[in-house]
């Protein structure tokens, strides 16, 4: 097996950051713990927190997180043996990535681990990539870290423009990135905004998160971020882990986060994912949620204020109505009367409004709309 000789390639820890060393230590101690268990004559096991819905909680803090329910991952259980072995293989592989200071995607990891278990065994360590995802999550939870910390990158999505300067240590080099100088394209949010990323300068009044790339481009062309001294971010639909993490970090700097979404199921969903986190990533808890985020629009109530919108509503689809009902059923949403009111209008009128509709009167109206909302603090929680 290739991996054995690779031990000799182990880089000295000197090239690793402090964070890297901590992660490596966590992996090492997991290995030591498992070996200790074997030496004590018992089945090796480790504990992880239950990630199922039953253990997803929502508290006063306004984000989803996992409860205390733990479960054991045991090697000597026929149903778990393979996954256990795979998890150990993933951990070992991640440790190697750490030592080499190289990153890859889960897919890359999958190919690194897709080899046969032995000549006499008609079985591969991994056969499907889908197998590895859940194991990575196990490791994230068991070791209390994020996959990005394990040098596993996720797909990048999301773009930033505005007065933000970052130092990016990557591939052995350091680059300074000024988000005011990214032209029409903006700065692409990387998978990991924690490791090797340093926020040198963030000089803005607020952060505007715009659902659609088209609207972001509109505002970017208007130099909205310059005029308003804000950051404009588009997650381009559902926010990626990196994007959500970035928003969290910006909120940590006490910057107000305003979300500007469609007035429909998808828009609300994106908003609430940014705000509370998602069930699936509840194990990352507050690290990936921004309860401080506020929703500036588009809202059904906007119709009352902007007469032209009346004509620009479109029919809500079945999925929108369903989602509205679902959102109403979440206790962390139904306690906000404004939201209840909004959602009920949707259910009553069976209408929805897209961000793009704000370009109805004139293209620059989008900026005016946002400015007015922010100034008047007209937003929903």
């Amino acid at each position: 097996m290739a991996k054995k000789k690779e031990i000799s390639l182990e880089k000295s820890d000197a090239s690793l950051t402090k964070e890297d060393i901590i992660v490596k230590e966590k992996l090492t101690s997991l290995g030591k713990q498992l070996i200790k268990e074997i030496e004590a004559g018992q089945s090796p096991y480790f504990e992880t927190v239950v990630r199922g819905r039953s253990n997803v909680l929502h508290g006063e803090e306004g984000y989803l997180y996992l409860g205390d329910k733990k479960e054991k991952r045991v090697f000597l259980n026929v149903a778990q043996a393979k996954k256990f072995m795979q998890t150990v293989a993933v951990a070992a592989k991640c440790k190697k990535f750490k030592e080499e200071n190289l990153h890859t995607s889960i897919r890359g990891l999958f190919y690194q681990l897709k080899f046969t278990l032995g000549e006499d065994l008609d079985e591969e360590l991994f056969e499907e990539q889908s197998e590895s995802n859940e194991l990575v999550e196990d490791l994230e939870v068991a070791l209390n870290l994020k996959r990005e910390d394990l040098n596993l990158s996720t797909d990048r999505k999301g773009v930033v423009a505005g007065n933000l300067v970052i130092r990016d240590k990557f591939g052995g080099e350091e680059t300074e990135i000024d988000c005011t100088k990214q032209g029409r394209s903006g700065w692409m949010i990387p998978s990991d905004v924690d490791n090797g990323m340093e926020f040198i300068d963030v000089d803005v009044d607020y952060v505007l998160v715009i659902e659609k790339d088209a609207l972001w481009q509109r505002l970017n062309e208007d130099k909205f971020w310059k005029k308003e001294n804000c950051l404009i971010i588009t997650p381009k639909g559902q926010a990626s882990r990196g994007c959500r993490r970035l928003i969290r970090k910006l909120a940590d700097m006490k910057l107000p986060i305003y979300c500007f979404m469609d007035c429909d199921a998808w828009g609300w969903y994106i908003y609430w994912t940014i705000k509370t986190g998602s069930m699936n990533l509840a194990y990352l808890g507050r690290n990936i949620a921004t309860p401080e985020a506020k929703f500036i629009g588009v809202t059904m109530s906007d119709i009352e204020r902007y007469d032209f919108l009346k004509k620009l509503t479109i029919n809500a689809k079945e999925v929108d109505l369903k989602r509205a009902e679902e959102l109403l059923s979440y206790p962390w949403i139904s306690r906000h009367q404004d939201w209840v009111k909004e959602l009920k209008i949707v259910l009553d009128t069976k209408k929805k409004i897209e961000q793009d509709a704000l370009q109805g009167p004139r293209l620059t109206f989008v900026g005016e709309y946002v400015r007015e909302k922010v100034e008047n603090k007209q937003f929903l929680y």
Binding site: K4, T28, G31, L34, I35, I38, S43, A81, K82, L125
Partner: protein
């Protein structure tokens, strides 16, 4: 009931042509004298010999006696001779060696050769033993015995005469170095033996050999065949060694599994509740009592003078002072009916002699080489308000257990016995089958029992086996007997269930173990790297050891400890969880 005769040892009459080839002592190894047990001399046994006259009746009713159908007729013949040999050996406390050879003759007849190492038959009794109906040493005693169904060796003699016109040839010696051979036939009119071609010579032999030529018989290997009969006999008589050589020359030896002659059942008087009209007539006609009333009190258990008074009231038209031998059929019928209306003290269970759990187990293992055997152990019960009986049920799984079906697959085989004698025919109406049919096999995980390689051994032990008909091939559906059989079957079915689930569990454990073992190499190489330690073979060994000990076979050890039960339960729960 032991009616009909049953001769301990049968044999010969006039010598037909068989004599040209002198009989060789077949396969019997030197006769064993069972250690410590005094063998009983034949003279002693035959001192009780008596005679009757009903040959004509049997000739007319041969189908009732098992002589219907060619295959069945041959089986009946083998049955008669072998049963006699077994009974004689048992009585003389000899471990039986029985040799049966069947030959197809060019004229379409079959020659049957049966040789035993029993006590032999004294010369003066041979005629009556083989040539006179209802003559025997046992029928007038009330004893649980195998040979209740047939008409005995004389029936064979008669059958040979009817189908080939030839007598039976026999050879016997009581072990006194004098061997005689002769031919025996029956004078059907007078029910008396006709002996011819008697020769005597010196030689070492003890036992009886019968050679008969029979027509209207056929040998095959069907479930009703002589072969199956002998196989079944071996199952119920583990102390016997039985050899059969079929017409093809193929030789099968059912080895002795148990080196102990079974204890003779204690003779007892018949109990009124177990008596049939036929029995009553037979007993009455050979009674030496002067009056019917004294015949009843002296020949039947629990019949006192006051009970006779009750009988008189119930049968006012019968003269209880007449000679017993003048008892008419209708009168006998009336008395038997009256017997059923009177309250009796139950008969003693003492005469019951089961084969025994251990012996049945040995026999099943010996003959079927099964993977699993279980035998029930139940105490005596009574039926018909007082007839004692007990049932013995064994179950054998895999190996040679089960019955080869016509489509080539193997299915449930029910081997029925009454007092160790195999019942091959009329299974449909038998209490044993009734019990088998009414079991909820699904409860024992044996829903598909009909298609499983399982042999059920079922033996009814009683001094009165309630047969459904004179053919004596089926036990009537007495409620108590069926119930008792059901309980016994449930016992062994539960055991088989436990074995199978244990076995299946072990197989599952083995599969689990293997599934986990697959990953040991990989994890053993990844772990040291993860821990930043050197790879060590020790780690892999340790891990293998942990797995081995967790999934060690549990069932092989037999019953599980409470802890093991718990662990298995936990494992099953783990499986369910996933």
């Amino acid at each position: 009931m032991e009616q009909k005769d049953q001769i301990s040892q049968t044999s010969v009459g006039e010598i037909p042509k068989v004599g040209s080839e002198s009989i060789k002592t077949a396969d019997l190894k030197s006769t064993k004298i069972t250690a410590g047990v005094q063998e009983v001399h034949s003279q002693e046994i035959f001192s009780e010999f008596r005679e009757h006259s009903v040959a004509e009746f049997f000739k007319k009713n041969r189908q009732m006696l098992g002589f219907s159908g060619k295959v069945r007729s041959l089986t009946t013949l083998v049955h008669e001779y072998v049963t006699n040999s077994l009974d004689a050996c048992e009585e003389a406390k000899i471990l039986p060696n029985i040799y049966v050879k069947i030959d197809n003759l060019p004229n379409g007849h079959i020659r049957l050769y049966v040789e035993d190492n029993g006590p032999g038959i004294p010369k003066q009794f041979i005629g009556r033993a083989l040539g006179q109906m209802l003559a025997g040493t046992k029928f007038h005693r009330f004893v649980q015995q195998r040979g209740q169904q047939g008409i005995g060796a004389t029936g064979g003699t008669m059958y040979a005469q009817i189908t080939t016109g030839k007598p039976i040839h026999c050879r016997s010696s009581t072990g006194d170095n004098i061997i005689y051979e002769c031919d025996v036939a029956v004078d059907l009119k007078t029910n008396s033996p006709k002996i011819s071609n008697m020769v005597e010579y010196t030689g070492k032999y003890r036992g009886l050999t019968i050679i008969g030529e029979f027509g209207e018989v056929k040998y095959d290997k069907s479930e009703y065949s002589a072969f199956e009969y002998l196989k079944a006999t071996a199952l119920a008589n583990p102390h016997a060694q039985i050899t059969i050589v079929d017409p093809e020359g193929e030789r099968t030896v059912f080895q002795r599994a148990h080196e102990e002659v079974p204890e003779r059942p204690k003779p007892a008087q018949p109990h009124p509740l177990g008596v049939t009209t036929d029995d009553l007539i037979n007993y009455a006609h050979h009674s030496k009592e002067r009056k019917l009333s004294s015949f009843l009190t002296s020949n039947f258990a629990r019949v006192s003078d006051s009970k006779v008074e009750e009988l008189k009231k119930l049968c006012p038209s019968i003269n209880f002072d007449k000679m017993p031998r003048e008892l008419k059929w209708e009168e006998a019928e009336a008395i038997v009916r009256a017997f059923k209306q009177i309250k009796w003290i139950a008969p003693s269970a003492d005469p019951l002699r089961p084969i025994g759990k251990e012996q049945i187990e040995k026999a099943l293992k010996n003959v079927l080489q099964p993977e699993f055997v279980s035998v029930s152990e139940r105490s005596p019960k009574v039926f018909r308000g007082g007839v004692p009986f007990l049932v013995e049920v064994g179950i054998a799984y895999k190996g040679k257990a089960g019955r080869q079906k016509s489509d080539g697959t193997v299915g449930l085989d029910v081997k029925r016995f009454a007092n160790r004698a195999p019942l091959l025919f009329d299974a449909g109406g038998c209490a044993t089958m009734e019990a088998v049919k009414t079991i909820d096999w699904g409860r024992y995980g044996l829903k598909d029992i009909e298609n499983m390689p399982v042999t059920l051994f079922m033996n009814l032990v009683s001094v009165h086996v309630p047969y459904t008909s004179a053919g004596k091939q089926a036990i009537s559906n007495e409620e108590e007997i069926v119930e008792e059989f059901r309980y016994a079957i449930m016992e062994v079915a539960r055991d088989l269930d436990r074995y199978l689930s244990g076995k299946i569990r072990d197989e599952q454990r083995e599969a689990r173990k293997k599934a986990i073992m697959r990953y040991v190499k990989q994890i053993s190489s990844d772990l040291p790297y993860l821990a930043g330690e050197k790879t060590s073979e020790e780690l892999e060994k340790k891990l293998l050891h942990i797995i081995e000990s967790k999934y060690s076979k549990m069932f092989d050890k037999g019953r599980l400890t409470a802890d093991e039960e718990k662990q298995i339960k936990k494992e099953i729960e783990e499986d369910i969880e996933e």
